[in-house]
Structure formats: structure tokens, C-alpha cells
């Protein structure tokens, strides 16, 4: 499949295009707009607590989405929170895919006892529900950013390992792999130069679907105060803090809640769209 065909299909897939546009919008919002916002996300101002949203009446100089219980600007917190969530999600998905792909190819290529060990390892991680596993590890290791990234990665690498393994196993027995074995190629060359390029499609599809899950899990952990720690904002901990005041000041939960929903929806659209585009045989 060459690039122009893929691009043509992408343009025809409404899911993919909508998802892509929303994600591009979110990226501009969280990475570019914050430098134009007047207030800092962690700047307290106890004279100005619970101000209602100014919307855009004062431009970016006002409190676009009001202020919270410590007088911090909700709009600024929302954007910085999104920046953290997106960056963490990217790092985590990247690590998950690297770990999962390497283990999966090794399992699928060698088979036998190595395959059994890696697959049992996957089953053990799968046997503990994601959020429970993440909470237990966070509780024991302590709450900080690197532990959060470790926990999110650890809880989610299994899917890509299983997918890679099943695909690698199929490719391994094809003629061109046998041919390069006969030509004396080393194992690592066969695994990463011969097999890997032939199984990138399912890995790309899976990676795009992992973003939504990762952001969901991070929000849940932050909501339970086990993820990103205040005063650093994240959508999860903003909802958690805003919950106490939501009856009177609903924007405190609506702003992060809608942002969270929009973000996951967009990533799910991209994931589904990408599957339609790259793997047209299996339509969902």
C-alpha cells in the first residue's frame, strides 16, 4: 500500500478525519495557547475565589472559565492539565509498544519455552484488573511522576505483546523468512529487519487505541489522588477537587469533564478510523 492510497482512504473515513481535527485542535490548545494566557495554572489568589467564567468577553486576559476554590484560573489549569495528560499518554504508549513489540516478536519467533514464559507473564498481568494493579503499585511505590509512568506502562503492555506475538508467529513460517535463514541471517536480523516491517499495521492500530485507555486510567488515578499530584493540574484531579463545590460552581467539573470526554472520543475515533483505513477487511 503506498502513501497516496492511504491518504485517500483517510480523507474518505469520516471517523478518522473528525478525530484528527479534534486532536489537532487539542494540541494547539494545550501546547500553544497557554503561552498567551494571562494567568499561571498554580497561581493562588484568595481574593478572587469562585469567579464565574468570563468566557471570551475579556479575551485571554480574563478568567475564561472562572476560578477555583484557591482563586486559580480554571482555563489555564485545564490547558496545562491537558498538556500533562497528553505527554504522559505519549510516553506511556511509546514504552508499552516498545516493550510489547520486542517481547512479542521474541515469543513469536522462538516459540517453545520462551514463548510459554512470556505468554504466562502476560496472563499474570492480565489476571489483575488494570486499575487495581495500578493503584496497588502506586500505593506501594509512592506517588511521583516517574512511578506513574511506570505503572501505566506496566498495566498496559500486554495487549501489544499478544498482538505482535500472534502476527510474528504467522510471518515466521513464510518463505522469505526461511530464505533469509538459509542465507545465514542472524536471529535478531530476522526478527527486526524481516518480521517487524511486516507486522507494523496491527501495531500502529493498537497504539492508536491505547491512547484512550491510557488517558482514562491516568484520569482515574489522578482522581483518586494517586496520579498527578496537586498543585500540578490534571483533568482527573481537577474533577476530584471540583466535586465538593459542583452544586454551586458547576464549571469546576464541567470544564475538565468535557475536555476529558472530547479527548478520549477523538482518540477512539482515530483508532477506529485508522483500523478502517489500514485494515479494510475488518470493519467495525
Amino acid at each position: 500500500m503506498n502513501n497516496s492510497i492511504i491518504w485517500k482512504r483517510m480523507k474518505r473515513s469520516p471517523f478518522f478525519m473528525v478525530g484528527l481535527i479534534v486532536i489537532m485542535f487539542l494540541f494547539v490548545m494545550v501546547f500553544i495557547i497557554p503561552s498567551f494566557v494571562h494567568y499561571k495554572p498554580t497561581e493562588n489568589n484568595l481574593m478572587e475565589t469562585f469567579r464565574s467564567p468570563d468566557w471570551l468577553s475579556k479575551g485571554l486576559k480574563g478568567h475564561v472559565l472562572g476560578t477555583d476554590e484557591l482563586g486559580r484560573d480554571v482555563f489555564s489549569r485545564l490547558l496545562y492539565g491537558g498538556r500533562y495528560s497528553l505527554m504522559i499518554a505519549f510516553i506511556v504508549v511509546f514504552l508499552q509498544i516498545i516493550i510489547g513489540t520486542v517481547l512479542g516478536i521474541v515469543a513469536g519467533f522462538f516459540g517453545g519455552i520462551i514463548d510459554s514464559i512470556i505468554m504466562r507473564l502476560c496472563e499474570i498481568v492480565l489476571a489483575i484488573p488494570n486499575l487495581v494493579l495500578a493503584i496497588a503499585i502506586m500505593a506501594v511505590m509512592g506517588k511521583n511522576l516517574s512511578n506513574l509512568i511506570f505503572v501505566l506502562t506496566f498495566a498496559g503492555w500486554v495487549d501489544s505483546c499478544k498482538v505482535t506475538r500472534n502476527n510474528a508467529e504467522v510471518v515466521r513460517s513464510q518463505d522469505f523468512v526461511r530464505a533469509s535463514t538459509a542465507l545465514g541471517a542472524t536471529n535478531s536480523r530476522i526478527m527486526f529487519r524481516e518480521i517487524l516491517p511486516n507486522i507494523t499495521t496491527p501495531i500502529i492500530i493498537l497504539a492508536s487505541q491505547r491512547f484512550g485507555f491510557t488517558i482514562l486510567l491516568e484520569a482515574a488515578l489522578s482522581f483518586l489522588n494517586l496520579g498527578i499530584q496537586p498543585p500540578i493540574p490534571s483533568w482527573g484531579n481537577m474533577i476530584s477537587a471540583g466535586r465538593s463545590f459542583m452544586a454551586i460552581y458547576p464549571w469546576l467539573v464541567f470544564a475538565p469533564g468535557i475536555a476529558l470526554m472530547l479527548c478520549i472520543l477523538a482518540f477512539n475515533f482515530i483508532g477506529d478510523g485508522l483500523r478502517d483505513v489500514l485494515d479494510p477487511k475488518r470493519k467495525m
Binding site: 504466562r120 496472563e123 499474570i124 489476571a127 489483575i128 484488573p129 488494570n130 486499575l131 487495581v132 494493579l133 493503584i135 496497588a136 503499585i137 502506586m138 500505593a139 506501594v140 511505590m141 509512592g142 484512550g212 482514562l216 484520569a219 482515574a220 482522581f223 483518586l224 494517586l226 482527573g236 474533577i239 476530584s240 466535586r243 459542583m246 452544586a247 458547576p250 467539573v253 475538565p256 469533564g257 476529558l260 470526554m261 478520549i264 472520543l265 477512539n268 475515533f269 477506529d272 470493519k283 467495525m284
Partner: protein, 306 residues
């Protein structure tokens, strides 16, 4: 069939064995001495030693592991450092609340989602299909964090139809159950739909049409059965993870189940409790998956081969 069940059973036991090892060592990575945490601040050295002996911390690791495994079989999970009660009795008191939430939300989710998914899949491209998929995509994108807070605000605070927290009457369960059921219904509907679409394009379905069977009969008698396998698998996974911890929903709505307990235990640094909850949740999960595999092998005998 017997051979298949036995093999799956042994696999399940092996996985559970490794989960116990994982849970056992995870807790030992925790900073701080549990014996000191059981005692008031500034307890003398001798009291700490005594408590270590009482908790069995003076023994070598493999003895501690043996005791811990023996404890699992005799329902003696040790002492909760925060509650000063046996972990078993705390969990037993709270488990029914989580089970109630899990069972009801799975039931309601299935009742809504299975017909929706099947109808959407058999009328691919229709308006029904479009709306069903919008419903599903929105549901899959709803974080439990946001959905539970939103439901509470709309139905509890603004409309005042339903109570917001606690477990007094059946009304208290409606919001948590709906919050859990919606995202689940969404994924069941999607998997049911894609299962239907896959099955309806198979040759044997064309063959049943050729024999003159009605569309209704083909959909519900032949295609449905095939589409059911992934649905049962998914319901099993969902049910297992619900039992394991509807942590967010229970915390928001103040349901005194094991999910809320896990959150509290983490806050209290009550490691014995965290460890047992980890173990119990994966036990639920693994046992339900085992049952699901058996059910699926009855629905579709081909599954045994995998």
C-alpha cells in the same frame, strides 16, 4: 470436553499461584515497617520486636509465604493495620455491596446492549445503526470519573430525583448502577454489532437464505449464536473487573463496597488489606474468565481448539 476443562483449570491455578507471589512481594517493597505502623507513635523497641513476632515478620521469607498461602485457604488474611480487625471479616462485610452493583449493572447493560448491537449489525448502514453506534462511541469515551460526577450532579443535585450517596434504599443503587452499565453497554453493543457483520458475510448464512429461511430466523437463530461468543467473553471480563473494583463509582457515590475499601486502604497505607484486595479481585477475574471459557466452548465448540 472434560480434557479441555481440566487443562484450563490447571492453567488458571498456575496463574493464580503467580499472582499470589506477585502480591506477596509487592507488599514487601513498601517503605516502612508494618510492625511500627500497628503501634502508637514512639513505641519502645521491645514492643516493636513483640509485634514483629506476632505478625511473623521475624521468620524467613519462604516461611512467611507459606503462612500467607495457608492463610488464604483458611480464610485468614492477616490483620488490617488501620482497622485493627481481621482482613477477612472486613472484606466479607463489604463484598455483597460490590457484588450487587456488579450483577445489576451487567444485567442492565446486557438487556440494553445485546439487542441494540444485533439489530445494528443486521441493518448495517441504516439510521438505527448510526444512532446505536453514536450511543456506543459516546459511552466508550465516558471516563467513569466524569460520568459518575455528571450523573450525580444532574440527577442527584439539580433534578433531585435520586439520592447522591449512601446505600439505604434501592434508590441509592440506581445512579451507581447506571454509571457502570452505560460504558459497558457501549462496548457490548459494538462487539455484538461487529460480530453480527462478520457472521452475516459468511457462506453458511447465504446457504441458509438459499434454503428459504426468513431473515428473522437467520439473524436470531444462526448468526446470533456466533456473535454471542465475543459478547460472553466481554461480559465476563467486565463482570470480573466490576467485582474487583468499581473503585471510582463506589468512592463517588459512597457505596461501602470493596472498591471504596481499596481506596481507603491505600490512603491508610494498610498494606495487608491492599494485598488481600488485589488477590481477591484477581481471583474473581480469573474464575469468571474460566467460567466464560467453558460457556463459550458450549456455544461454539471450535473454541476448544485455541
Amino acid at each position: 470436553m472434560g480434557h479441555f476443562i481440566l487443562r484450563r483449570f490447571v492453567q488458571t491455578l498456575i496463574v493464580l499461584f503467580f499472582v499470589t507471589i506477585f502480591a506477596f512481594f509487592l507488599i514487601r517493597l513498601a517503605p516502612g515497617n508494618p510492625a511500627i505502623m500497628m503501634l502508637p507513635d514512639g513505641a519502645p523497641e521491645s514492643a516493636v520486636k513483640e509485634m514483629e513476632i506476632k505478625l511473623g515478620l521475624d521468620k524467613p521469607l519462604y516461611v512467611q509465604y507459606y503462612k500467607y498461602i495457608k492463610g488464604i485457604f483458611t480464610e485468614d488474611f492477616g490483620l488490617s493495620t488501620a482497622y485493627k480487625r481481621s482482613v477477612g471479616s472486613i472484606i466479607r462485610a463489604r463484598f455483597p455491596y460490590s457484588a450487587k452493583l456488579a450483577i445489576w449493572s451487567v444485567l442492565i447493560g446486557c438487556v440494553i446492549a445485546i439487542p441494540l448491537g444485533i439489530i445494528a449489525g443486521s441493518r448495517q448502514g441504516s439510521a438505527t445503526d448510526f444512532f446505536a453506534m453514536m450511543f456506543a462511541l459516546l459511552g466508550q469515551s465516558m471516563s467513569p470519573v466524569w460520568l459518575s460526577v455528571l450523573n450525580m450532579l444532574v440527577f442527584g443535585v439539580w433534578l433531585k430525583w435520586l439520592p447522591t450517596t449512601g446505600t439505604g434504599s434501592y434508590k441509592h443503587y440506581i445512579l451507581p448502577i447506571l454509571t457502570l452499565a452505560y460504558p459497558m453497554a457501549a462496548s457490548i453493543a459494538r462487539i455484538g454489532r461487529s460480530g453480527m457483520i462478520d457472521t452475516l458475510s459468511e457462506d453458511y448464512i447465504t446457504a441458509t437464505y438459499a434454503r428459504g429461511l426468513s431473515k428473522f430466523k437467520v439473524n436470531w437463530k444462526y448468526a446470533f449464536r456466533n456473535a454471542l461468543v465475543p459478547i460472553v467473553t466481554l461480559v465476563g471480563i467486565q463482570m470480573g473487573s466490576f467485582l474487583a473494583g468499581t473503585i471510582i463509582v463506589e468512592t463517588v457515590f459512597g457505596v461501602a463496597g470493596i472498591g471504596q475499601l481499596l481506596n481507603i486502604a491505600v490512603g491508610n497505607r494498610d498494606y495487608a488489606l491492599v494485598q488481600s484486595l488485589l488477590l481477591i479481585s484477581s481471583l474473581c477475574f480469573v474464575v469468571i474468565n474460566f467460567i466464560v471459557d467453558i460457556i463459550n466452548s458450549f456455544i461454539d465448540p471450535r473454541n476448544k481448539l485455541n
